[in-house]
Subunit: 375 residues, 2 copies
Amino acid sequence: MTGRDAVGAAADDRLARAALARVAEPGDELVGRWLGELGPGETWRAVREDRRLPGASADRWAGLRLRAERAAPERDLVAIARLGGRFVCPGDREWPRQLDDLGATRPVGLWVRGPCSLRFVALRSVALVGSRACTEYGAHVAGELGVALAERGWTVVSGAAFGVDGAAHRGSLAVGGATVGVLACGVDVSYPAGHRELLGRIAERGLLVAELAPGEHPTRSRFVLRNRVIAALTRGTVVVEAARRSGALVTARHAGRLGRHLMAVPGPVTSGLSAGAHRLIREQATLVASAAEVIELVGDMGELAGEEPGPAVPRDLLAPQAARVLDALPGAGSAGVAEVARGACTSPEAATARLCELRTLGFVERVGDRWQLCR
Amino acid sequence: MTGRDAVGAAADDRLARAALARVAEPGDELVGRWLGELGPGETWRAVREDRRLPGASADRWAGLRLRAERAAPERDLVAIARLGGRFVCPGDREWPRQLDDLGATRPVGLWVRGPCSLRFVALRSVALVGSRACTEYGAHVAGELGVALAERGWTVVSGAAFGVDGAAHRGSLAVGGATVGVLACGVDVSYPAGHRELLGRIAERGLLVAELAPGEHPTRSRFVLRNRVIAALTRGTVVVEAARRSGALVTARHAGRLGRHLMAVPGPVTSGLSAGAHRLIREQATLVASAAEVIELVGDMGELAGEEPGPAVPRDLLAPQAARVLDALPGAGSAGVAEVARGACTSPEAATARLCELRTLGFVERVGDRWQLCR
């Protein structure tokens, strides 16, 4: 980063980054290296003035030039402003520093829509990702986690896709949580179309975030590359339901490589949609069954999951000797002291003493000179 | 063990062990120490002749004496023979050496019914344990594991209880597998009564095993102590469904302490009956979703679970450049080379070359001077 980053990107750098965000594909390492070595301004001038930079093949450079001809960064900055949004660059107050962990694949900049500060909401954030074609179980679990994380002040980050993503965002929104949708297209593009309304609510109460300039459409590779941003932005990633080839596993692998917490929710082994999550748990992910367990992992010291104790059974509180005597009484009918003593392997005197204790505790009752369990 | 053990227990030792099996509760460490120090004969004589042995309280000794008065080992050995069974002692050919790992809590001897050699079938055995009140899911998974393990030549060991135990035994029997039921009562006692027929089939085609002498009935503590035998007998224990206080978790802890493999099958996090299994996985157990994964863990080198590959998608085999060009084509309608080159960020020449490759592979087609995806 240049000295300028520390005080926010200067106007010309911002303009150059806006242009490069339009010209370069997300996560283009070559462009990332140029930015690191030459800075945004010089990199953009080189592309615009066709001064081929080191490492670019003739075809690659030609492609960048083709895109540069169409680039109009001023227009894009106006467009995002019209949407009530902004273009956040490294060095800006709102820039989430954790994205710098991505090194040369760090986003050139982020197009952001919504009332929150990206940097702030990302401080305590968890990614919830999973299958688009999730089961009712997956949708239920994602929704419940979205609710519970938001209620505890955690930001739910996801991809705004159908299935697990959508359920997670909705759960968070339902309890007034700030949720972040990281898109693989422009923040003004409603994709999937069926989520137009959801995307609108996220933009109103949370944040829509994209590396891609306004108007850009998603492609397969853009979905894949988007996942690295979700992983880098958050303290940990939770995979809810994922088949073996799910994009959620890509996010998970990124999270692991970036040293973020990697978690997965188990499901029925009879469901192919849980196979990916189970495999992650076998290999590297921590099994999580509740928001409390997620927070225990990603949260600060002391945010521990409350241990759910089993029901307290008074019988467990008995001393071993008394428990053995209780065991020695028949399920039905009564028994004499000698029989109880034999069953408990103790003396008749000790057996009588324990039986009297058990009577005061309400476990047994005396019938003449015999004893039986209380009904 | 005495020298005699190496060549099979001598008659008097066997008789003494039969008597002590009737007198002592399973896993009685004190009796276990006496057996180690004095041998069976001397231990039994001391009890019978009321020569109090070190470590026994007056009450404890009195209890042992009460039981000794009723002991009739000759009769018990006749009884087990009438059942077509036998009393297997440490040092016998049929004795499973792995039980010696239990140290002072090693069974005094085992009452066995069934056509197989306990030692042999236990060599490649796995314990399947879980809740009596399991869900349909738990019963289904236990049954499927029972089938698949038996088909691969593995012996399923369980407790013959309702729920997971029963389903595991039935699955194994269904494909002609030898299955072992370790009981908390005499091998002639049908407990639970509802499993009379199942117990009969296990005795016919597998093995019923008990520390407790014929006629003895189960008690709470006997169920708990029985679990250590299941854990010690097998190479690993698989918990299928277990609430937080399930006895299956006792078996699991024993398996862990004995250095056996500890495995658990996940389930829906919405099911309390999977909470115990999930907790085990978080703490120490390996998640297993199939018999192949169980065998990969407990089996010999090279018995690996076949990796289930996702469906092979030809698209994945494309070189990055070609994949980017394919991504650049619109989902509907066609595009010119310049547009494709811009989308793929490459030169028009390179784009054309990739498009021709993709055409031969059947991904795209040419329409005049434009290109589109194949329907």
